[in-house]
Amino acid sequence: MNDTKPKTIFEKIWDSHVVKNAEGYPDALFIDRHFIHEVTSPQAFDGLKKRGIKVFNTHRTTATADHNVPTKDQHLPIKEALSRHQVETLRNNCQEFGIELYDLGHPFQGIVHIIGPELGLTLPGMTIVCGDSHTSTHGAFGNIAFGIGTSEVEQVLATQCILQNKPRTMRIEINGKLSKGVLSKDIILYIISQLTASGATGYFVEYAGDTIRNLSMEARMTICNMSIEMGARGGLIAPDEITFDYIKGRRFAPQGKVFEKKVEEWKKLKTDEGAVYDAVLKFTADDIGPMITYGTNPGMGMRISDRIPTIEELKEISGQISLKKSLDYMGLEAGSQLLGKAIDYVFIGSCTNARIEDLRLVAAMVKGKKKAANVKVWVVPGSKQVEEQAKREGLDKVFEEAGFELRSPGCSACLGMNEDKVPAGKYCIATSNRNFEGRQGPKSRTFLASPLSAAAAAITGRITDVRELV
């Protein structure tokens, strides 16, 4: 291999983590950081027990309970027997195998992709995996992070490696200034609407351009988080001063002199001049407005002021069938507008948009206002630390006065595994990442949007162009 060849940041990180590249085998890729949670880990631990093997390096795995936990009364035993059993199983496995667990009630507990970055466990240049497709969130720090299945969780626990074929690389560049009321959530919903739900399958994406550079770390995480929704294995952003400032002083991040030395190494994590990507796409920020989805996959999105496409506007018959099926499910008319559509629920939460900046944006918009009578509003912070910070800043009071319910941390109504479900036929505007049929509860109907658009809808009770309120 010619090491002087210009490389993308992705190639630099990947190549430096290949333990073995044997002829006829996929790469044995070393994993620096492994996160686990209660839903996709029990069968992996069972595998270890059956084989009679230990965890390879317990320091490289961190556990939390998030997917299946109640967001009310977390200090009490979990009521639902199966959920309780799953969380207890995680607890027992972590104890038996010696893995650090941030259990319910622990000050570091929270959604796995929120706690990694806030604790300084997520760092540039790493390889990071978790049995959850939104692991791509961590890529915002300039690392290779992707979701894996339970068999692979077992591989990582047993060997700290997984077998992977190197994906292709895609560069998505966005330049220009975002207009008022447009957030990073709108950027990623826009990109997915352009690429479709499968447009980046087989690729690992690097997001670049000055629009991305000007975003905060939390906003960058929202973008990388949804890479999987266009099929990409993951998405990353080269680290810069904004990244280093975010990491500095975090609980498990390198400290002092070691940190300074690390920053010098991390500065080299960027794509070389002349490096070649398998695909390059460019967008301008001017084209991006507040976005909303109308269908049943995240690729079915549009500017909030646009109208839903008509069946005839779609060229492919298969696309026409999908649109018709989606709109039937959503109870919507092809060619109609969503602005002014009454909604029933507002969900502000999930690994996509439940960080402190998201809560601050929502609070700033609703301060002194009340929610519309026809809506129920759940604000579910991404972690215990986010919850505590929100309280320190008095955001809890703002939400309370507005009639919003501030819950305790967990994945909650993003996937409706716990009791936070949207009832059949009801409409929910959600800051989460998936609008699949039944995702928020059987027959629930989801509109994906930014925290600002969700907050605006909470106030008006209708789908609202946030630019009318800011």
Binding site: V19, K20, A22, E23, G24, Y25, P26, A28, F30, D32, V39, T40, P42, D46, K50, F56, N57, H67, L82, S83, H85, Q86, S133, G147, I148, G149, T150, S151, E152, E154, Q155, A158, T159, Q160, C161, I162, L163, N165, A197, S198, T201, I228, G231, N297, G299, S318, G319, I321, S322, L415, G416, M417, A424, R434, F436, E437, G438, R439, P442, K443
Partner: protein, 216 residues
């Protein structure tokens, strides 16, 4: 061991030094009728909704395969859903493109396999699902859009249409019309022989240990 290509010698040598082999189901050739599901972008939430992911074992997920398409809110079978009509049966599921998108839940592959399917045919699979399927003895077969459409038409015309899936030759044949399909050679060897990735990784233990120390 079945010779499937020029890499097989290397791999069998590697295996013979490894005492930890846990044998999985082997797959070589299958002749069966099929179940068609001509819907695109079938996500893993449809295959197995999140509320059924609370089990801590791998078994039994087949009961809730396509739960919300298969049963109504009162748990009665939805009469016109393909698994309930009684018209179609078999060990191959034929589905529209971008099958298995969304959540990484391996439970989706477990549910399909547990229900009795050995193969899923589509013109396009989501990456994580494809990997999960291969790790569980469920063969994802990628065919061209045209072939897939032809297959849907043939099955609709005659629900007893049989497909021949030959992993060794990497071909699929329906009514005499064959198409070859791609599969990663390593994964093919694993499927044909019932190997598991972890066996190979465990054999690299000392190299990984060295790497870990150098990068801590």
């Amino acid at each position: 061991m079945v010779v499937v290509g020029r890499y097989s010698a290397t791999i069998s040598q590697q295996r013979s030094t490894n005492n930890e082999i846990m044998s999985k189901e082997k797959f070589t050739r299958l002749v069966t009728t099929t179940v068609p599901l001509p819907v695109e972008n079938i996500d893993t939430d449809q295959i197995i909704p999140a509320r059924f992911l609370k089990a801590t074992t791998r078994e039994g997920f087949g009961d809730n395969l396509f739960r919300d398409w298969r049963y109504d809110s009162d748990n009665n079978p939805v009469k016109d859903f393909v698994l309930n009509t009684g018209i179609y049966s078999g060990k191959v599921l034929v589905a529209g493109k971008n099958f298995g998108c969304g959540s990484s839940r391996e439970h989706a592959a477990w549910a399909i396999h547990d229900f009795g399917f050995k193969v899923v045919i589509s013109s396009f699979f989501a990456d994580i699902f494809k990997g999960n399927a291969l790790n569980n003895g469920l063969l994802p077969v990628v065919v061209s859009d045209n072939y897939l459409q032809g297959l849907f038409i043939a099955i609709e015309k005659n629900p007893k249409t049989e497909v021949i899936v030959d992993l060794e030759k990497q071909t699929i044949t329906v009514n005499g019309a064959s198409e070859s399909f791609d599969i990663n050679l390593y994964k093919k060897i694993c499927m044909v022989n019932g190997y598991d990735d972890i066996d190979y990784l465990l054999s690299l233990n000392s190299e990984i240990r060295e790497f870990d120390l150098a990068h801590s």
